[in-house]
Each structure stands twice: as structure tokens, then as C-alpha cells.
Symmetry: C2
Subunit: 533 residues, 2 copies
């Protein structure tokens, strides 16, 4: 009974994090990989020599037309225990994976209860979405920062940590699994369910996060040719997985396929959420901006993807007063081109404590528009004798965004010359990667029909400012869309639909991957892209 | 590289047990289900976007023509760790199950080391045979009594125990697995191997023993229609199995298929050892005599099997001075038809402490030949006024086999009237079952080309005495063969040969099972068969 529904993630309020809990709306035909089948096991007849397991599989054929199932070991044990005191006419419910393997046997008709969880492991944040697989509804959401952060802020430092000590890989895996377990407990508590009710868990994340989740050494990602250990989707019995993931031990874990060492299952999920598997004549450019930015260019001839290291500037790192998009972060900035006066907005509307990615982009766009920055990114101090533009403590120029008397800590919040360079490097990497991808596919900015910004970050940036800074290609504003946490949406999609899971596997295989580190043009293009418009 | 070899179990001396360590000689083409493949994983080339796992599977295709393999989760983890410090040109060895699943990855070329274990779980005894799967050689053997005996002597009392308490099934499973683990340790120590070297474990046993080994409730065996929970062969990853079986956790456990609730994997193994899978025009009657006796009748039209409860008399139970075939057991008896004097032989040739199954058969045949027993099994006290035939402590007649001054404990060893009845019931069950099976297949004693006695017990009985007592059908002596522990031999066969494993699965499905409890003729035939010749 497949029904068409709209996945709509409920708006929930998180105290500190503004991001990662909104998803795109998408139509998905509900047909989960794991389903329940209710049967009556009437008493077998003498003379007809069989086993309980065969009787049960025959009933599946008769009642559901389900042929060729096999019975898992744990399900066999359960069947033997249930049979031991089964009442006449009592119903049993089978939990079956992909119409093939009987994972579990439950007493009575439990078909109304069928739950799964979509897990999005980001380098900095982890989110869990508990879903009703009958109705396709998100029941509860829980997220937290990725505890692996204490071992290394970004992917490469975690790879380095994993390689340093014998037990480090185990520590990395245990910390993320323990984090997911806490989120699962929280989701279940919110929804009034038990962890044992969860029979399916779909995990997305970048290639390194997925390796670490699986306890697979990511060392090969550190060295050319940056190959992952595994790219294909991984299906695991929860009971086989160590350390324990707190879902039903007879349930399944599905790890999204990856495309390459630095284009992971999260990007496959994004492509899925952007309907890239549907034949389409339009030209789509999809950017998932983060410390590592994945860029997808899809046209009727196919899909190409590349990845570039864009640094953590948009997450507030390596920026003097940079912070994440938490309460107190300046998330919007405008600079009056005439007076050079600054207006800003903070998350939570309190006194500012720093500036986050979207504020940074606004500020730089403002500085450009106000003629405060030269093309090479240096401050135009000759034309702008204003007290906001001053020489800072390190004898370099800086621009005051918020005066000390306005801020929470009583100190000026400034953008330094180093901050500008940090931004330039990030936008240059993304800009150069877009250029090369477009050149490779023989596409110009004018050919692009849609620019889709995935990731929570994209939702909060001002597209016109992003274009002004050169971060986004110069397309009409109406062509730009944001879709929020599309990776999480993709995870929900494969949780709800067997067909979409197959599409994900196909996508991962057919997407053309462009390795930029091998492309001599990239370095040239990167240097050219350092310039501001 | 399949080579033809002869499995010859080395003669080893067991202190106490005379049985269960000799197997039949059989030609088996060595082609184990688990094999090793050695590869060089030369450095991948840039630009050719793949994963290590794909590279490895491609090499398998190129070097070995092995297509469509999949990689197990644990093997992936191992590959990632080995890759992390793999030297150029260093070899790796893959352990692959059935040409399909890569179970494990080892450093270097370890192809010379490939080991498996055949396990025979009897109701009273457990035996392990450690084998070199390259050479098809048994490296060491270890056996012990089945510790489940403390929970119940026979199959039905263990089923009852399993049903009595919630934790009893677990206790039964743990006790047999712990026993096998001790035998494995012992086998490995004798052969100078580590338990981790064992990648395959083939388990045979009766249906109940296999259920208990797997931790599957045997309750359904206790009630009509006596169906098992599972009949088909079970393939399990050792790492999935609980409690831990001490072989390589990435290795496999194969549990032999069963035919019915009381015709188990041990009988399939016996049929395998008797070459029942080979088309053959001769008529074979195979008896595996024990507490439960399985009888197989094979002719060109097919194979039929039935099972009967023959009681533990042959194992010395329910017989006043009955003991197992241990040191000090009277295992051979002859009675002079004229003088009625008794001669006997004991295992180990010391003073007797009791009488075992083969001695019991000899004694009864001797009593019959000497005219000491009436046709109905009572002692012929009228014609025999001798001091060996006397009224015992329970006011019933008894026959003295050994006088107190000859025995170890200084007490007479006698056969009581109850002992005779106990034997009559056992032989009547077997005799009646044979009759009905033969009638069903329209075969007379004259049509039988071979009578094969399987099981350790069979090796020590005197066939002519067994015929005299009516235990075996009346066929010329040269048609009777004994093949020792054929169940163990069958287990070794499926350990060494993928093809024979498939034959076992096919045999288990195609054999016709006769349920005697449903056959009204059986009760009649049983009563008739109580008479001695």
C-alpha cells in the first residue's frame, strides 16, 4: 500500500543551533525497505513433514505472494520461543528486509508500529530524525555537536588523529556512536517509543565520517589518490555492528554510498533531495558549502561533481571574531555606501558576541559596495579616512563592525585583513571549482537554470551578497534556491523508500567525479579567483 | 587445484572411550567452501576514481577470474588497517566463502594455512576433528562427554528441561558450546595452531542437539507433528554466533541440514558417508543404532528414512550392570551351549565392572543359543537347573555373567529379567521399524545387498549375534559392514568439499521421511517383534 506523502520536518526550536533541523519538502512514495507482515501460523498437519521455518515461509507465499525469503538466525530463535507458547489463532508479525530476509518475529499484530531513524553525521554536528515508516512522518528530531571535535576540528585532523595511535580509530568510532545513541534515546523519549522499536537506521555523512562511524581506518583518504576504503552503500545487521547502536539488534543499518574520498554519502543524499535521479533537461548547479564544499553540476548529459577545501571560515573559524551561528552571532550586516555606517542583526537579537558565516559574507559584500576594499582584498585606506577603518593590534588594518559599547563583552568586533584573506581563499576555492566544473561540461553562467544551495548555512546567506563577493556565480536571483539540510532530507528519503535507496546507489555509481588536486587548471583558477569583483 | 585424497582418521588412543574416533575411509575431492586467495594490491592510479574495496575485487577478477564477490564488514575494517601500512609489493591473503563473500584479510601470503573443524555433537558425546583444508588431513581429534547430560540423559529429557525454565535453553546452549570450545582448544594445542586459524566449523548432530547448539528452542520436537524449527542447513558468521565459539570470528559455522524432528544432520552425514548421494542400483539398509535409532533404506527408486526410540540399553542404561564402553566393561560374551559356562572379555582386559552394549547382545545371543531363554524372553528355568540361573534380590530370575571373585568390586555381574525385557524393547523397536520401512518400499530381506551399521557402537557388535537376537535382519554375514562414526565422517566430508555440502542439502530435501508414530502398523509390528527367535 504505497501512498504519496510530503515529508515535512516539523519546526522545532533548538536553544542554540539555528541550523540543521529544517529540511526540504519532497514527495516520496512510501515503500520502506523494512516492512511488517502479519500471519497466522495455524497448526501444522501430521504427515506433511516440514519445519516451522518452512511453514512460515509457505504462509508468506500464500498470503503475501512473497517468494524466496530466508530466515535470519535471530528470527529463528525468536520463532522457536514464540511457538513454544503460541495460542491457537494467535497472530505473529514478521519484520522483513527488502522482501528477502526475515529479521525478526514479534507476537501479535504489531504492523501499526514501524519506525526508522535517519542519521546525518556532519563533521561538526550530528542529527537524528525518528520517523514513522508507515506514515512517512518525522516523530522527533535531536541533534548535538559531533563529539569527535575534541580529536580534531576538521576531517583531515581527524584522519591524522586516527593514524596517530592504535586505539584512536576505536575512540573516534565510539564517540560518534555514543553520540548517536544519546540522540536516539532522546528521539525515542520525545516520541514515547523504545529504542527496540527502531528497525532501520540510514546514515549519511561525508566519506570520512562514514568511515569513522563504521570503524574503518580513513588513512587512505590522506594520501593521493585519496581513495576511500569503500564507496558502495553498506547494509549491516545492527547486531553485527560494534559498538552497539541502540536500535533493535535485529534491525538494519544502511550507510549511504559515497562517490569519492571527498564526495561522500551526504552529497549523494543532497543529489537525491535535489531530484538529480530524475531525468531533467535543465542545468542545475548545487553547492553544499562547508569546510569542504561539494559542487554538483547536472545537465541532460549527466552529473559531474567535485570537492574543494573551502576552509572553516563560514563556520566562524580562522576569523578573529568568527563564531558559529549561535545566539549572539552577527548573522546580517549592511554597510551604508555613503556614510560607511554599519547596521547588523544578531541571532536571538541580543548583544553581539561575534560574527558568523552569513554575517561575514554580508560584511564583505558591504565593504565592496562601499568601496572599502580593493580588488585584491586589501582595505582601501586611501579613499576611506573613517574611524571604523583603523590599524589594529597587529599593526594591520581592520574594520570595526560593532563598537565595544554595543557588544556583549565590551570589546570591538572587527574584521581584520587576515579575515578578509581567509574569506578570499574560501570563496576562491569554490569559485575556481565551479569554473572548472562548468568548463569541463562546457557550460557558462548563462546556461545555468537553477543554483541550489544545500546545507543549513545556505539558508541564512543573502544570495545577492554572495554573488557580490564572488562566492556564487552571477545568475539572476530568482534562479537561486536554498534547500536547508538536504543531506538529512536524503537520509529520510532512503529510509522511506526502497526505490530511492536504489536510486542513491545508482547515482553514486554514475556521477562523474572530478579530482581537482589532479587538475593543473585548478591552481591557476584559484589564484585568479582570489580577486574580488 | 582439486586433488583426490583419502580421509583417514589417525588411530589415537583415548584413555576411556573406545568409540567415536575412528571414521570410514572415503575418497573426497578437496574443494573447501572457504578458500584463500593471495593478491598484490599495487598502488592505485590517480584519475581512476575507485575505492580500495573495488580495487581488491577487480584484482580478484583479473587474477582469479572470481566475479561478483562482496566484502564483509569485518574484512573491510581489516583491509583499511592493513592498507594503512602496507609495503610496496607486499602480498595480502583474502579468505573467501563460497567464492562469494570476502570474510577476512590477512597480511602476507598465508595460503599454506587453511584449517577447519568438524564437530559431531552426540547426545552423550561430543567430538571435534581439526583438519588441514589444503591437504584434507585430520590434524588432531578431541572428544568428551556431552555436558548437557547433567540436564537430562536423553533427547526428550533435555527438551523437557529446556521448556521448564526461562534460562534453561541458554544453559543448555552454553554448556555444549563451552564443551566444544574446550575441545577446540585441545585440538589446536595438539596441532600447534591457534583458534584464530580455524575459519570453518561444520557441525553435525541430531535435530535436537543442533537446535540446542544454535540456541533454538526444541519445544516443537516434543509435540505432534514433531516438527523441527529449522531443517535446512544453516550458515552463520562465527562473529554473529552467541555464545562465542572459539574459531576465527570472521570464520563461518555450517550446521548440517536435518530431515525431520528425529532424523537430524547426523543422519544426513551418515548418508553422505555411505555415498547415498551417488546413484546406485543396490539396496542398502543403514542403521545408526543409539538411544534413538535411525534407519535408512535406499534403493534405485530413492531413499526412505525413519526413526525409532530404541532406548539407552545399548549405552548401558536401564540395564542393572550396564555401563558405557569404557575400560572394565564386558564387551564380548560367549556361553557354552552345553556346559552353559560363560567366557567374556573386558575393555582394557582388567577385571570387569559392568557390561556394555556389545556384551549385552553377545550375552543374549548366547542365552538364546544355549536354550536359556524362552521365545517370549523369560528365562527357561525348567530346562536349566544351573547355579548361574538363580532368583535375585527382587525375587526375579537372573543369570550370572561374572562371579564376584572375578569382578572389580567383588560382586556378581548378572543379567536380570528386566534387563532382558529392556533389550527386547530396544530390538523390537528397531526390528519393527526395519519391517515397516521395507514393507513401504516393497523390499524383503533377500533383496538387501548391504546392511551398514553406523555409529561407534556398531563397530563393536558381533553381527552374527546381532542377527541371532533379531536386532539385525537375517542377511548373510558378508553383507554386513560397519563404518564407525559415520556422522563425524560426514562432517569432515562437508568441511572438505563444497560439492558434498550441496549434496547434503539435496539429500536432506529429497529423502522420504516416514513418521512411525503416525503409522498404525508400527504398534502391531512392535509387539510381534518383542519375541526372540
Amino acid at each position: 500500500a504505497a501512498t504519496e506523502i510530503v515529508i515535512k520536518v516539523p519546526e522545532i526550536s533548538l536553544k542554540d543551533l539555528k541550523i540543521q533541523t529544517r529540511g526540504a519538502d519532497l514527495s516520496v512514495e512510501i515503500n520502506p525497505v523494512i516492512k511488517k507482515y502479519v500471519l497466522e501460523l495455524s497448526s501444522p498437519l501430521l504427515g506433511n513433514n516440514l519445519s516451522l521455518e518452512e511453514l512460515l515461509r509457505r504462509r508468506l507465499e500464500e498470503v503475501y505472494g512473497l517468494y524466496g525469503t530466508r530466515m535470519g538466525y535471530e528470527a529463528l530463535k525468536q520463532l522457536s520461543m514464540i511457538w513454544a507458547d503460541l495460542q491457537p489463532n494467535e497472530l505473529i508479525t514478521l519484520i522483513i528486509w527488502d522482501g528477502k530476509e526475515i529479521l525478526s518475529v514479534e507476537r501479535g499484530d504489531t504492523s501499526d508500529n514501524l519506525y526508522g531513524v535517519a542519521v546525518d553525521i556532519g563533521t561538526t554536528k550530528v542529527a537524528c530524525f525518528l520517523m514513522d515508516l508507515n506514515e512517512g512522518r518525522v516523530l522527533s528530531v535531536s541533534s548535538s555537536s559531533n563529539p569527535q571535535g575534541i580529536f580534531g576540528e576538521d576531517v583531515m585532523s581527524r584522519v591524522a588523529f586516527a593514524m596517530k595511535g592504535k586505539n584512536n580509530l576505536v575512540r573516534l568510532q565510539e564517540s560518534v556512536v555514543e553520540c548517536i545513541n544519546r540522540l536516539l534515546d532522546d528521539c525515542c523519549e520525545k516520541a514515547g517509543l523504545s529504542n527496540e522499536d527502531i528497525y532501520d537506521c540510514c546514515v549519511v555523512g561525508n566519506t570520512c565520517m562514514l568511515h569513522l562511524f563504521l570503524g574503518i581506518s580513513p588513512k587512505s583518504l590522506a594520501f593521493s589518490p585519496y581513495w576511500p576504503v569503500i564507496r558502495g552503500g553498506v547494509n549491516l545487521k545492527a547486531g553485527e555492528f560494534r559498538p552497539t547502536l541502540r536500535i533493535n539488534p535485529n534491525g538494519m543499518i544502511y550507510v549511504m554510498p559515497s562517490i569519492a574520498g571527498f564526495v561522500g554519502g551526504d552529497n549523494v543524499a543532497v543529489q537525491l533531495a535535489c531530484n538529480c535521479f530524475v531525468p531533467d533537461k535543465s542545468v542545475k548547479l548545487i553547492l553544499d558549502i562547508g569546510t569542504n564544499t561539494e559542487i554538483v553540476l547536472a545537465d541532460k548529459k549527466g552529473i559531474a561533481v567535485c570537492s574543494c577545501a573551502s576552509g572553516p571560515a563560514f563556520e566562524g573559524m580562522h576569523i578573529k571574531y568568527g563564531i558559529r551561528a549561535v545566539s549572539g552571532a552577527i548573522d546580517m550586516v549592511s554597510i551604508d555606501p555613503k556614510t560607511k555606517e554599519v547596521r547588523y542583526h544578531t541571532i536571538g537579537e541580543g548583544k553581539p558576541i561575534g560574527i558568523c558565516g552569513s554575517g561575514l559574507i554580508d560584511a564583505i559584500a558591504g565593504l565592496i559596495n562601499a568601496g572599502l576594499l580593493n580588488k585584491n582584498g586589501t582595505f582601501n585606506v586611501i579613499d576611506n579616512k573613517i574611524n571604523r577603518l583603523r590599524i589594529g593590534s597587529t599593526d594591520k588594518w581592520e574594520f570595526v563592525i560593532a563598537w565595544g559599547n554595543e557588544t556583549n563583552m565590551g570589546k570591538d568586533i572587527v574584521l581584520t585583513q587576515e579575515d578578509i584573506v581567509e574569506f578570499q581563499k574560501a570563496k576562491a576555492a569554490i569559485h575556481a571549482a565551479c569554473k572548472i566544473l562548468m568548463r569541463k561540461k562546457n557550460i557558462t553562467e548563462n546556461d545555468i537554470d537553477r543554483v541550489i544551495i544545500a546545507g543549513a548555512f545556505g539558508e541564512y546567506i543573502d544570495p545577492s551578497n554572495a554573488i557580490i563577493t564572488g562566492l556564487l556565480p552571477s545568475v539572476p536571483l530568482e534562479k537561486i534556491e536554498t534547500i536547508g539540510n538536504a543531506a538529512g532530507t536524503g537520509a529520510k528519503m532512503v529510509l522511506l523508500s526502497r526505490e530511492l535507496r536504489m536510486e542513491a546507489e545508482k547515482l553514486a555509481k554514475r556521477v562523474e567525479y572530478l579530482e581537482l588536486s589532479a587538475d593543473p587548471e585548478f591552481a591557476h583558477e584559484f589564484v585568479r579567483s582570489m580577486f574580488l569583483k
